[in-house]
């Protein structure tokens, strides 16, 4: 006996929802109970209608598909609908996840529904949400930072960035060509955002490790770094960072 699935469609494009509804009409076991145009609406409808199955778009305003799932205690069965290229999303290959690529193909939908029907009742496959989130939120590799000069916004390429220095509440980007620009980023958020080649050597200084000319040991046990610019800028580490620095630079 085929189980019937109370189904909710969540997608921010009305046309996409309409198309899915139309494609689902022939399946008697799929019983569409509602629609939602974004994650927040979806959340509300799930709580109200308690569906067995949701078709879920990923990129949506207010709350995206994953954020919405993250807020559900015990989510219903999910079939993702997405325009992402399948190869970009390895996590979709997981046993427990099913997905449809837009534009949705009839045959592919039939397969997904068949798979639902063949599911053993009671065997619960949790969605590997962490994995999905990790792979979809491709760690954006920062290539440039913005700098404000009056109303003018300049981009500083991070490969030209020699070191970053915080002075009281101001943070300065110092570039190889000797320019010093005020930025709105805080030193902590830069430390997080910049790639690994940027190393914090004391509380207020981050240096570009690819532009170090020489590392010397200072009298007090800390290091000082001579940078590879024409001024041969010298920067001191603080001793509390020694362990980390020794590890990074193998010294």
């Amino acid at each position: 006996m085929n189980k019937c699935w109370n189904t909710l469609i969540i997608d921010d494009e009305e046309l996409a929802r309409q198309r899915l509804k139309r494609l689902l009409t022939p399946y008697e076991c799929i019983n569409i109970v509602g629609e939602a145009a974004n994650g927040a609406e979806g959340l509300e409808q799930i709580e109200r209608l308690n569906p067995d199955l949701i078709f879920l778009d990923i990129e949506m305003p207010v709350l995206n598909g994953f954020e919405m799932l993250g807020r559900l205690g015990k989510p219903p069965k999910v079939i993702f609908t997405t325009a992402y290229d399948q190869y970009a999303v390895k996590a979709f290959e997981e046993e427990s996840v099913d997905y449809l690529l837009k534009p949705v193909e009839d045959e592919r939908l039939a397969k997904a529904v068949n798979r639902l029907q063949s599911l053993q009742p009671g065997t619960d496959h949790p969605i590997p949400l962490d994995l999905l989130l990790k792979q979809l939120q491709v760690k954006k590799e920062i290539k440039t930072l913005t700098v404000k000069i009056g109303d003018r916004i300049l981009l500083v390429k991070i490969q030209d960035l020699l070191y970053i220095e915080a002075e009281e509440k101001y943070v300065f980007l110092n570039t190889v060509d000797g320019k010093r620009n005020l930025t709105d980023f805080t030193i902590t958020s830069l430390a997080e955002k910049l790639p690994d080649q940027f190393v914090r050597i004391n509380r207020g200084t981050i240096i570009n490790s690819e532009l170090i000319k020489e590392i010397r040991r200072g009298f007090n046990g800390a290091f000082f770094f001579i940078m590879n610019d024409f001024k041969e800028t010298k920067l001191n580490s603080s001793r509390s960072y020694n362990a980390v620095l020794k590890d990074i630079f193998d010294i």
Binding site: D12, A16, R19, A83, K102, K140, R152, D184
Partner: protein, 361 residues
């Protein structure tokens, strides 16, 4: 191409005046040099200083000889319109005119001697001619080989320069092409999905959207590799893009386009505006359900001012540069070098302002 032709014409016209002075200037200096060297050699040979009178004559004679030879070469080349490229003919004329110049110089010197010292002058001095022809041929060969090699070197250097220039132009063009051809694939798939839905709901609308989508893609593929387009063309593509977005998301957003009429035919970078609109929709207006407004303006001052603004979420202080903004900067940098400005403001209105100069074509 036409530049080069003009350049050649100019050099032929200058041949007679400017170049003549230059050649004779060199002649004067080198003649004096040769005379001095000969005088010193003479002194060394005899082991004593020869009186200054003979130095004076030596100088005069050397200058006369160089003048005669140089002008003989100059006139013959001018008459025959010869350039180096004519190979053996150039060589023959070069040697012949040098010898003729030498012969003339010998006679001129005898004439001068006859006039100064009241000697008797008779035409043609075969003895001197024979020995000096040998010297002329040797010197001419040395000079020819030297200039020939110098020219070969220069040509090589110029070819290298041209190759480097061409390479950098190609690189710029390729970079611009990749910057322009990027339309979000996500956008394509979602639009196609919308069309698939519309085919049943509203065939006319589906047809219209298919055509708009092709138009957008044709523009992005940029068959002719043009990096600049008129404001009119760019704005048409912006409208096409906005129409597609309207079909997908309904009339949620109010779009306001204002373009200075004078600027309609002005050239601006291709695909400069669309990525910034995409950004505004994706970041600024993403979560706005009602009353969303997007303004696009192209205004004229002494520069072209392009503004893209919205009434959504303000730009964050820690503005992260995604593909849209970064590609905008790269495009501007490639086309205008340092001659552009981008402002990103939240006050008094939230907008991106781009200042670019007019490009003369």
């Amino acid at each position: 191409m036409s530049d080069r032709v003009q350049h050649q014409e100019a050099s032929i016209n200058n041949f007679s005046s400017k170049k003549w002075y230059k050649v004779n200037g060199y002649g004067l200096v080198s003649g004096m040099g040769i005379g001095l060297v000969l005088y010193l050699l003479n002194c060394a040979f005899k082991g004593e200083w020869i009186n200054l009178r003979s130095l004076f004559f030596q100088l005069i004679f050397s200058i006369v000889i160089t003048f005669c030879i140089i002008n003989s070469i100059f006139i013959s080349q001018r008459l025959l319109k010869l350039t180096n490229e004519k190979g053996w003919l150039f060589l023959v004329v070069y040697y012949l005119s040098s010898i003729i110049g030498m012969l003339v110089a010998i006679e001129v010197i005898y004439l001068m001697q006859a006039w100064i010292f009241n000697h008797e002058y008779h035409f043609f001095h075969l003895e001197e001619a024979r020995s000096s022809i040998m010297i002329v041929i040797i010197i001419c060969t040395v000079i020819y080989v030297y200039t020939f090699q110098k020219r070969v070197m220069q040509t090589k250097l110029r070819e290298k320069d041209i190759a480097v220039l061409r390479l950098s132009q190609m690189k710029t063009r390729a970079e611009l092409a990749t910057l322009q051809s990027k339309i979000n694939p996500h956008f394509l798939y979602n639009s196609l999905n919308a069309i698939a839905s519309l085919i049943h709901e509203n065939p006319d609308k589906a047809e219209r959207m298919t055509i708009q989508l092709s138009k957008l893609f044709r523009y992005s593929i940029n068959q002719n590799q043009e990096s600049l387009v008129t404001v009119e063309e760019e704005m048409e593509i912006v409208s096409t893009y906005l129409d597609i977005e309207k079909v997908r998301f309904g009339d949620r957003i109010n779009f306001i386009l204002s373009v200075d009429n004078e600027l309609i035919k002005t050239k601006i970078p291709r695909f400069l505006i669309q990525p910034l609109i995409e950004n505004a929709l994706k970041h600024g207006l993403k979560d706005m359900v009602n009353g969303a407004e997007l303004r696009i303006g192209v205004q004229k001052t002494d520069k072209i001012i392009i503004t893209i603004g919205d009434n959504g979420v303000p730009f964050p202080d820690e503005l992260e540069t995604g593909y849209g903004l970064q590609s905008t900067y790269e495009k501007l940098k490639l086309l205008y070098n340092e001659d552009y400005e981008v402002q990103i403001t939240n006050q008094p209105v939230k907008q991106i302002t781009i200042f670019i100069p007019f490009i003369n074509e």
